[in-house]
Structures are given as structure tokens and as C-alpha cells.
């Protein structure tokens, strides 16, 4: 076998390895989703979405869990998006490239990999105890916002970095100030990437259980939260609670709640794709 033949073999070999890897993930996901659907789909009805938690599996619902998740999601977005995007803009467009900037950059990248329970402990001390938010939605949202801030900052910076420099130079050449350049040219051009980062970060926040249990999110909450200071429960905690119960009927409830959580994240990702395409189309260089 000469060199050329061997290279061709490696070439086509890699193709099949690639195909296998792609389908491995997809098949696993399909098996998982199929399994969950088979277990839980029949349990989902209007009552399941509107009932309060109950000791009787057949009567138990997720009203307070999904409303809690919606509150947490909204508050976390409101807190983390402005902070994260602004920090990203500063670091990428204004910040000087010195030692301090390097250290900050390194730390942000590291923070993105810190286990979520650590953020829970931080949130418990700062938001629950020092700031006296208690085990409230606000404390939970601030904790999760901290958790996803590094992801948003990194995504924002990457998106800004991808905007060609010629755009900035052209804008300066027309006499625009730095802020005008960022606001009118660079941000719209980078919006698709930033948005994708934000949605991915929020999707992670939606699935978190550990930090919320640490700050005092509850399992049995018989009322829908009406202010950010109310106590709350979220879908992942309800799922966690149900799948660890001995009765098989509760496991079915858990599967049904997983389906709802999956639908929620699919909708979020769908919205992200839609918005990204919409904004991307308007930009033509």
C-alpha cells in the first residue's frame, strides 16, 4: 500500500467515524426522549398543568413548579442580560489589553466551569443571608444570574470579535464616535451570536436544581408566586422529588414533568433560532 492509498483510506475512514459519532448522540437522545414520552405522555393533561402538589400521584400537578420556573427564567434574564452584555462590550471594545485584562479574562473563563453548587453556596451567603432576600425568587434569580454571567460574557465577546474590523474602521472614517460605532454598527451585526449565547445560558439556568435547593427553594409550595420576594419551587426540583419517591405513579409524574421541561427548553431554543435569523437577515455588508 503506498502513501496515497493509505491517505485515501484514512480519509474515508474518518468519514465513517464522523458519521458514527454524529448518530451516536442523536440515537441516544432519541432513545431517551422516546423512553420519557412512553412513560409520561399519557399523564399530561390540563389538570396536570393546573393542579397543586399532592401526596396522591394522580392528583398532583405542576402549577407552582412551572410558574416558579417561568418567574425564575424571567428574573434571571432581566438581571443577567444587561450585566453580561455590558461587561462583554467593555472587555472587548474598551478594555485595554494589559495584565489585569488578561487575569480578568482567565477568571471569567474559569468561572464558566465552576460547579453550580458552589454558586448556590455563594448565593446562600450573599443574597439569602447578607442581603436578606430569604429563600425568595429574587435570591434564586440572582444566584442563577451569577451562574450564567460568565457564559453570556464569553459569548458576547466572541460575537463582537467576529465582527470584521473593516466595519469599525469604516464607521470611524465617517466620523462616528466609539459609542455610535458600537451601538449602530457592531451590536446589530453581533446580535445573532450574542442572542444564541444568552439563550444557551438561560437554558442551562432552567435545568439547575442544586444551587436552588441550597438557597432554600422548596418542594411543596401550594400557591403561585406573585412577587419576586415569594418562596418558590421549580420544575427540576419537582422532578427530583418525584423520581426519588417509592411509588411507581410518582415516577410517571416525574416523566411527565420532564416532558414539560423539555418542551420549555425546545421553545426557548426555537425562539433563539427565529430571532437570530430575523436579525441576521437585516444586516448586509
Amino acid at each position: 500500500m503506498n502513501k496515497i492509498q493509505r491517505n485515501r483510506l484514512v480519509d474515508s475512514g474518518f468519514k465513517y467515524v464522523g458519521i458514527f459519532c454524529t448518530f451516536f448522540g442523536i440515537v441516544m437522545l432519541l432513545i431517551f426522549i422516546g423512553n420519557i414520552l412512553a412513560d409520561g405522555l399519557s399523564r399530561i393533561d390540563w389538570d396536570f398543568l393546573t393542579n397543586l402538589p399532592s401526596r396522591r400521584a394522580a392528583k398532583a400537578g405542576i402549577l407552582t413548579a412551572w410558574t416558579g420556573t417561568a418567574w425564575i427564567l424571567g428574573l434571571t434574564a432581566i438581571i443577567s442580560i444587561p450585566l453580561g452584555v455590558a461587561a462583554g462590550i467593555y472587555l472587548q471594545e474598551y478594555g485595554k489589553k494589559n495584565r489585569l485584562a488578561y487575569i480578568i479574562e482567565l477568571n471569567i473563563a474559569n468561572l464558566a466551569g465552576v460547579p453550580s453548587i458552589i454558586y448556590g453556596l455563594l448565593g446562600l451567603e450573599i443574597f439569602v443571608r447578607v442581603l436578606h432576600f430569604g429563600g425568595s425568587l429574587l435570591a434564586g434569580a440572582f444566584t442563577l444570574a451569577l451562574l450564567i454571567l460568565p457564559i453570556i460574557i464569553v459569548a458576547t465577546r466572541e460575537a463582537l470579535k467576529a465582527v470584521p474590523n473593516s466595519l469599525r474602521e469604516a464607521s470611524y472614517g465617517m466620523g462616528a464616535t466609539k459609542w455610535q460605532t458600537i451601538w449602530d454598527q457592531i451590536l446589530p451585526a453581533a446580535s445573532g451570536g450574542i442572542l444564541t449565547g444568552i439563550i444557551l445560558a438561560l437554558s442551562r439556568a432552567v435545568g439547575e436544581t442544586a444551587p436552588l435547593i441550597v438557597i432554600g427553594a422548596l418542594a411543596y409550595v401550594p400557591f403561585v408566586p406573585t412577587t419576586p420576594m415569594d418562596e418558590f419551587t421549580v420544575l427540576p426540583i419537582q422532578i427530583f422529588n418525584w423520581v426519588s419517591r417509592p411509588q411507581a405513579d410518582f415516577l410517571v409524574n416525574g416523566a411527565a414533568a420532564i416532558i414539560i421541561l423539555l418542551i420549555l427548553t425546545f421553545i426557548m431554543n426555537g425562539v433563539a433560532v427565529y430571532l437570530r435569523n430575523k436579525w441576521q437577515k437585516k444586516i448586509s455588508w
Binding site: 422548596l218 401550594p222 419576586p228 420576594m229 422529588n241
Partner: protein
């Protein structure tokens, strides 16, 4: 109208500012609305189903008292209890000295109320044909810290058993169930070998032992009751002959030492809040019917009345 990404950012930022202003007012409101009736409960996930059942029924009687229940674990709950952050702690073991001294330091007096029994079962794989009971000494020999890496085969436990390796399954070290088992069997709470498959989720243990011919494990009675067809129950001999765990043997105390009472702890500050005394009375008066419904073993009626009398003398100042 074109909603630009930038306008969206502006809206988000405005909301952020509004939100940070609004939160202060909201926190003042909740501080004053405590009179309307709010009971904060946290603690053991073992006791959770009982308290959840009581809270659910209590709602039909007192719809304006907001009862919430968390699952931070017995230890996590006592930490909050000692800081006065919660009114009632669900506990699957009595309060530890250290936790008690924290309460004392923060001037929190409390009362322990027994609410039910939980039996711990020792189970093996369905196909295991040679075993019908363990003695307490044998269990100790299997689980004590010194057994790690040394006691690994059935015939090391009892010489008539096969020369095959066994595999251990048990709750994780954070659970009250683990604390209780090690205390009752090894003699010291929290002390055991660590080379076993641990899970905080007892359903995982059930699955593990179901699929492992040489599995041995322990967990709460309710999990066995739901999986009777998949597991083999093993009797425990504490010197007076082998006893199988059942509602009867747990209640009358013959299934020892693996039957344990579970508790709720109420603080003196909590009983001054409206609704708490009513809730506790409701708890103890309805436990007889609600406790078995969620898979636990109730006390006798007189015992519940005794607990209630204890609670009443705790609430009336001397």
C-alpha cells in the same frame, strides 16, 4: 414596528433597574404579612411525604395559612432551624448535640415530636436462595469501616455461604437513613466502609440490587413495599431470633434495631405565629390515617395524644 436587538437591550436594562428598586418594597410587604399565617418547614426528604400529606389536608381546613415544605435534608434543615429561618424541621433522627448548642446560642427553644416509624429493610437479589436472615453482628462485620477491602466474599460472613464476592448498595453519607443504619449496626453514626455503591435516590439502589445476583443493600421500608416482586427481604436477628420487618414488628418494637422513629421539631418562636399550633394539632390528630397512606408506620393513637399533650405544655408558658 421594528424591534431591534438594541431596543431589546434597553428594555431589559430598564426592567433590571425597575426590578432592583421594586424589590425593597416587596420585602417590606412580606415582613408584615406574616400575621396572615405562614409556616415554613424544611428538612428530611424521608419525612417530607408525611408533612406534605398533612400540609395538603390542612389547606382544606385553613386555606389562608401558607404552608411550604423543603427538602434540604435533616442536617441542612437543622442549620436553618438553628438560625431561626424556619418554623418546623422534619428530622429522620434526633437533633445532634452540636446542632442543639447552635439553637441554644441563638436562644431557640424547641420541642421534639415523634410523628411516625420508618423501618429500614435489608434486602438481597431475588435469586439469592441461601440467605434468610443476617444477625446484627454479621451486618456489623459487613459494614464496619475495618471491613473495607477485607470482607468481600459471602463465605467470610457465614462459612456455609458460597465463595463468591458480594456487592453492597446503600444510601449516601448525607442521608439520615445512612446515619441511622450506621449508628444502629456499626455503633457509631456516620462510620462505615466506603467501598459500596451509594445513592441518595433509593430507587437507584432498588435497581442496582435487582440487577445484581450478589447484591446486598438497605433502605426505607416503603421502597421495599413498592418493589416486593423484585427483591428478597432478609430478616434481622438481634439475638432473639430472626425477625422480618413488617408494620406489626416495627410497631411493637421486635424488629430491632432497624426500626426508627421520625420527628418534627418546632421552635418556641414558631408557636407564637398564628396557625402553627393549629397545624401541629392537625398533624398529630390526622397522622393515624395520613402516615400509612404515604408508606410509613403510624404510632398508636394514645402515643399521638401523648405527643399532643407534650406540645400543649410546651406552648403554655410556665
Amino acid at each position: 414596528m421594528k424591534l431591534h436587538f438594541r431596543s431589546y437591550l434597553l428594555i431589559a436594562f430598564t426592567l433590571f433597574l425597575l426590578n432592583s428598586c421594586g424589590s425593597k418594597q416587596a420585602s417590606e410587604q412580606t415582613a408584615t404579612s406574616a400575621i396572615a399565617g405562614e409556616i415554613k418547614i424544611d428538612g428530611s426528604s424521608t419525612v417530607y411525604p408525611i408533612t406534605e400529606a398533612v400540609a395538603e389536608e390542612f389547606r382544606t381546613e385553613q386555606p389562608n395559612v401558607k404552608v411550604t415544605v423543603g427538602i434540604s435534608g435533616t442536617g441542612g434543615g437543622f442549620k436553618k432551624f438553628g438560625r431561626g429561618e424556619i418554623d418546623i424541621n422534619d428530622a429522620s433522627r434526633p437533633i445532634k448535640e452540636k446542632e442543639d448548642s447552635v439553637c441554644a446560642a441563638n436562644n431557640i427553644k424547641h420541642i421534639q415530636l415523634k410523628v411516625a416509624f420508618d423501618g429500614l429493610v435489608v434486602v438481597v437479589n431475588k435469586e439469592n436462595s441461601f440467605i434468610d436472615h443476617f444477625t446484627v453482628e454479621e451486618l456489623k462485620k459487613i459494614w464496619e469501616p475495618g471491613a473495607q477491602g477485607k470482607i468481600t466474599k459471602w463465605n467470610q460472613i457465614r462459612s456455609s455461604w458460597p465463595n463468591e464476592e458480594f456487592h453492597l448498595y446503600g444510601p449516601g453519607t448525607a442521608s439520615g437513613t445512612y446515619d441511622y443504619f450506621t449508628e444502629a449496626i456499626v455503633g457509631k453514626s456516620g462510620s462505615s466502609r466506603s467501598d459500596y455503591t451509594a445513592s441518595e435516590d433509593d430507587n437507584v439502589l432498588v435497581q442496582g440490587i435487582t440487577g445484581d445476583k450478589n447484591g446486598i443493600g438497605f433502605f426505607g421500608l416503603a421502597y421495599y413495599e413498592e418493589n416486593k416482586d423484585k427483591l428478597k427481604l432478609v430478616g434481622v436477628d438481634n439475638g432473639k431470633g430472626s425477625v422480618m420487618p413488617s408494620i406489626e414488628t416495627v410497631k411493637n418494637g421486635t424488629y430491632a434495631p432497624l426500626a426508627r422513629p421520625v420527628f418534627i421539631y418546632v421552635s418556641d418562636a414558631a408557636v407564637k405565629k398564628s396557625g402553627v399550633s393549629e397545624f401541629i394539632a392537625f398533624y398529630l390528630n390526622n397522622a393515624t390515617t395520613l402516615v400509612p397512606e404515604v408508606g410509613y408506620i403510624p404510632l398508636n393513637n394514645e402515643e399521638y395524644q401523648n405527643e399532643l399533650a407534650k406540645f400543649k405544655s410546651f406552648t403554655t408558658p410556665q
